[in-house]
């Protein structure tokens, strides 16, 4: 498993094979989406349109299951995560290409985007003050642990995807070198399953983190409201 090599230099930017592959994926997905959605029909959808609608509705249903009523807000980000990670994972099956997700820089970038999106959607759902306040609940003493949790889960998100995809490609390469031509076929089928599962896990974890960020500040707001109402209740009881 060799590291991503530099394909060309663009000024001070060194463009690696991972970035080029990602551009290819962008091109593929962009052109495919444009071609597939050129002539959408309401009355008589074709096979491709039906598949697209099924995929989008599945993503929407998954988001609705975690965050009811927020699928419109989260669908582009979470859906793009699922689609990109799945396609990027499967790119390793193409000869002479490596999965961009087998590069720690890509998985770290995706994990960093998830980290930012958790705070972005959390703040958007209420306000900055309310969102930051949930780090102090139930006690300000737990603030370091909240911060440590944020960093560790982002790191785990990046390393989990990177480690699984890199190990899959390396295992396939080793089996191909040791056993011959047809023996890696089961490994490649396992690669397909593992690629889809890892994409699902990455997107689902991102969705759960975002949902946690949006619901934690709501829970914090609710606990504050409850505690502010408590003296009234006590007073009324006395």
């Amino acid at each position: 498993m060799e590291a991503a090599h530099i394909v060309f230099q663009l000024g001070f930017l060194q463009i690696t094979s991972t970035v080029v592959t990602t551009w290819g994926i962008l091109l593929l997905l962009g052109v495919g989406a444009w071609l597939a959605t050129r002539n959408l029909s309401v009355a008589s959808p074709g096979l491709v349109q039906t598949a697209l609608e099924g995929a989008v509705q599945s993503i929407e249903a998954a988001i609705e299951g975690v965050l009811p009523g927020r699928s419109g807000l989260l669908l582009p980000f979470v859906g793009t995560l699922w689609i990109f990670v799945a396609v990027a994972n499967l790119t390793g099956l193409v000869p002479e290409l490596h999965s961009p997700t087998g590069d720690l820089s890509t998985t770290a970038a995706l994990a960093f985007l998830v980290f930012l999106s958790v705070h972005w959607f959390g703040i958007r759902s209420s306000s900055l003050k309310t969102y930051l306040h949930h780090y102090l609940t139930p006690s300000p003493v737990l603030l370091p642990f909240h911060l440590l949790g944020e960093l560790s889960r982002t790191l785990a998100l990046a390393v989990r995807l990177f480690g699984n995809i890199m190990s899959l490609e390396m295992a396939a390469l080793l089996v191909l070198l040791v056993a011959g031509l047809l023996v890696p076929v089961p490994i490649l089928m396992l690669h397909i399953i593992e690629a889809l599962v890892q994409a699902y896990i990455f997107g689902t974890l991102a969705l759960i983190y975002i949902a946690g960020g949006m619901q934690s500040q709501e829970a914090s707001h609710a606990s504050d409201t409850t505690s502010s109402n408590a003296p009234d209740k006590k007073g009324s009881s006395t």
Partner: protein, 248 residues
Amino acid sequence: MGLDWTTFLLEIVNFLALLWILKRFLYQPVLATLAERRAGIARTLGEASDKEARATTLQSQFESRLADWEQEKAAARSAFDAEMAAERVRQLDLLSHDLAAERDRGAAVEAHARETLRRELAAQADKEARQFASALLTRLACPELEARLVDVFIEELAGLPDARLATLKAAHNGHGPAVVTSAYPLSDAQRERIASTIGARLELPGRVEFGLDASLLAGLRVSLGAWQLDCSLAGELGVFAEAPSFAN
């Protein structure tokens, strides 16, 4: 295996670019299509709901109308049954009346036929009785019977009321002699008795003539001009035959 910051930053940019591309060319068109289809389905469901409501209303109206029709039908049927019952009673009365009239007419016809038959049988019996009596008396005719009839004539003439005698006298009024016709020859004594009786009772000055007529069977007949005093068996049988029937 290390982290390349250039790749890291470019991958962030790439992902954001892909996010925009998919949002622009995938999510928005597909979601718009789904929304349009859902709106169409909702519109169709709404129209179906409206149609169902209208159908339900029409069904309730139809059921109400059907119930009204059933009531009207039941009322009409009960009225028709009552009318039919009344008509049946009227027809039965009319038939009973006709039957009674026919029975009376039949009874009258039967009674008339029975009475006619009874009369015919009575007339036949009367006729046969007269024929039998005539045949019997004809066979019994003899001089002794004639003598007895002469005696009866003399007694009858002797006991004839004066008013009748006056009538006979006035009717004869001297028109010739009295003619006595008998079935058998009369003896002189009988002739004498007859002549003397006629002369005494009818005060006839002339003589009495005697004759024979076997058709009298027995007895005698006295002719006084246009009048006749009949005391013969044939005369009595003729009177008997011409007498009113017992059947009447």
